[in-house]
């Protein structure tokens, strides 16, 4: 109500109810419905993770997350993100460079292909690697003869994770670099800077927050990926079990508080990712605003 008047002080408001919003009982009702819905579907599931994790006390929680199987699942998850995320960062930058700095035919198709893993069911993403590297797969017999194991081993888990998280960095960078245009880079190159120098001195500082944002999303997904990894893992305890798979195994063994203890670590990580995302979002918006201001001042 205040908003409307302050913006239109010269317009007399004669209507009993405010014309551009609902009557207060409706407003209250809608807000209550939104609160209840978010509470039931978002807040409660998060709260119960921590509640169940600590249900048997902090010492039990500590014992669960420091036993050897839990530690090995944490180690494997770290190995997987350590391999998958850097690969997809390099890919994301290259793909964004190719898509935004040049014009060529079929650009839209290329972008759709980059987005493809987002629409494929995680289970299918895992299945395709079984069809290639599994014992009855295309390369199965050959791999067996040279004693290389890809699926039901760590390489398969890494591959499936790379597949699933491939779009995240590229998707953040493409719209950002498209909006920023190529004039800065063109100027640098024209003044004699090499391609690499242009990238590191001009492009990278411009896209750093967008890149950081993409890396957070990519890492969060890599840590939590379940379906695809579950298909190719083979669930060998201590060897091919990542943190989400450890949660599944413990849960299926009816060891609920242990399952929720590992789950609470994953939930903490996702909360951290959400917090970082919020922070960088503000940063990127600020950068975009400043860029706009700069353009206004310079009259470009």
């Amino acid at each position: 109500m205040k908003d409307y008047r302050s913006k239109n002080e010269d317009v007399p408001v004669r209507l009993k109810t405010h014309p551009l919003t609902e009557p207060w009982p409706i407003r209250l009702l809608l807000t209550a419905v939104a609160f209840i819905f978010l509470g039931l579907f978002l807040i409660m599931p998060l709260v119960i993770v921590f509640y169940n994790a600590l249900a048997e006390g902090f010492i039990a929680f500590k014992n669960v997350i420091t036993n050897s199987e839990a530690l090995s699942s944490i180690r494997l998850t770290l190995i997987v993100i350590g391999l998958a995320v850097p690969m997809n960062i390099v890919f994301g930058i290259l793909a964004a460079w190719a898509v935004t700095k040049f014009s060529f035919r079929g650009k839209q198709i290329l972008i759709s292909f980059i987005d493809l893993p987002l629409t494929v069911s995680p289970v299918i993403s895992g299945t395709v690697f079984i069809l290639i590297f599994g014992l009855h797969g295309v390369l199965g017999e050959w791999l067996n003869s040279i004693h290389v194991k890809i699926v039901f081993a760590v390489p398969g888990i890494v591959l499936a994770t790379i597949f699933v998280t491939l779009p995240y960095v590229a998707r953040e960078l493409i719209p950002l670099m498209q909006a920023q245009g190529s004039s800065d880079e063109e100027a640098a190159v024209t003044l004699g800077a090499s391609g690499w120098k242009t990238f590191f001195k001009i492009t990278l500082p411009n896209i750093k927050w967008g890149l950081f944002y993409g890396v957070i999303l990519c890492t969060a997904r890599a840590i939590g990926e379940f379906g695809a990894v579950s298909v190719v893992s083979g669930h060998i305890r201590g060897k091919t079990v990542t943190m989400p798979l450890e949660v599944e195994i413990l849960y299926n063994e009816y060891n609920f508080s242990a399952a929720f203890s590992i789950a609470s670590l994953l939930a903490l990580l996702s909360l951290a990712a959400m917090g970082l995302k919020k922070l960088t979002q503000n940063k990127t918006e600020k950068v975009a605003l400043e860029h706009e201001k700069f353009l206004n001042i310079t009259g470009v």
């Binding site: 819905f37 579907f41 599931p45 460079w97 242009t198 959400m274």
Partner: protein
């Protein structure tokens, strides 16, 4: 054409970035996915028919589509209310609630699965109240819908929010000054303007729900023919070393996902044209 080419060549690295992008994409995504179709094409038609038309496959598809549709519809209604409240009203803790909408994107699906199950089982914090009403949520189809609603919520809210906050209030003002009630204004002015975004959000939530696995397996009970979703059926076939079965079902599902993706792209194009036309 030559002029354009000369202008492009100022920035170096086209062949390197393009070459590496295409090879990586082909190796990781395109070649593996095409394996699915190559393998399915190797089977004869009667085999494919037998796999797709078996009772178990059909009921899995019916369940996956049905539950995903219901969940996406629920998200359209409540997602709209959440987006409306977050954009139009001010209340304490708004930033906090707004950030929370992303939780289903960030929370690992297995974590979501076990926590929803423990909330909605008959002894759970929420499930016990449904139990009093005689409704069983966890380990039934209702449980599947609950999990898919959780997964799809941010898609609807996040597609609606920017459209709602960019919406020009002039049309609403005009409707009101011409004597329309708030409800009439909503139906005739606001709803048409947001409908492309609402449809896009619906399709995105639907596409995500159909392929969802992690959050559903824990709450669904996984009874063949009754609470077995398609991704779980693929998983079961793989565990039985029935690669043909898994391949055919997965290939069919992939085609459905492609069609949905195409629809989403068309909807987004329509939405953009719609908004541009509005601005003119």
């Amino acid at each position: 054409m030559t002029k354009k080419k000369k202008k492009q060549s100022v920035i170096p690295g086209f062949s390197m970035s393009m070459g590496l992008t295409l090879s990586y994409l082909t190796l990781i995504v395109l070649a593996p996915l095409s394996m699915l179709f190559i393998r399915a094409a190797g089977l004869n038609v009667s085999e494919i028919k037998h796999i797709l038309l078996s009772e178990r496959t059909l009921s899995a598809f019916a369940l996956s589509f049905g539950a995903s549709l219901i969940a996406a519809l629920i998200n359209c209604i409540f997602g709209f209310i959440v987006a409306w409240v977050l954009v139009r009203y001010t209340f304490p803790g708004k930033v906090f609630f707004d950030a929370f909408v992303d939780l289903p994107f960030a929370l690992p699906t297995a974590v979501a699965g076990i926590s929803l199950t423990s909330l909605y089982m008959t002894s759970g914090w929420i499930g016990r109240y449904f139990h009093i009403l005689g409704i069983k949520v966890a380990y039934t189809r209702i449980g599947i819908i609950v999990a898919l609603t959780f997964i799809g919520l941010p898609f609807v809210v996040r597609t609606l929010q920017p459209v709602l906050s960019d919406m020009d209030k002039q049309a609403e003002e005009a409707a009101v000054s011409l004597g329309a009630s708030r409800w009439k204004t909503f139906i005739h002015v606001i709803l048409p303007e947001i409908s492309p975004a609402l449809l896009t959000g619906f399709a995105l939530a639907l596409a995500r729900a159909i392929g969802e696995y992690g959050s559903v397996v824990f709450i669904s009970g996984n009874m063949p023919n009754r609470t077995e979703i398609v991704p779980l059926l693929i998983m079961t076939r793989l565990e039985e070393y029935d690669y043909s079965g898994a391949t055919v079902i997965a290939a069919f599902m992939l085609i459905v996902s492609f069609l949905l993706l195409l629809m989403i792209n068309l909807l987004q194009g329509w939405g953009q044209r719609f908004q541009e036309a509005e601005k003119l």
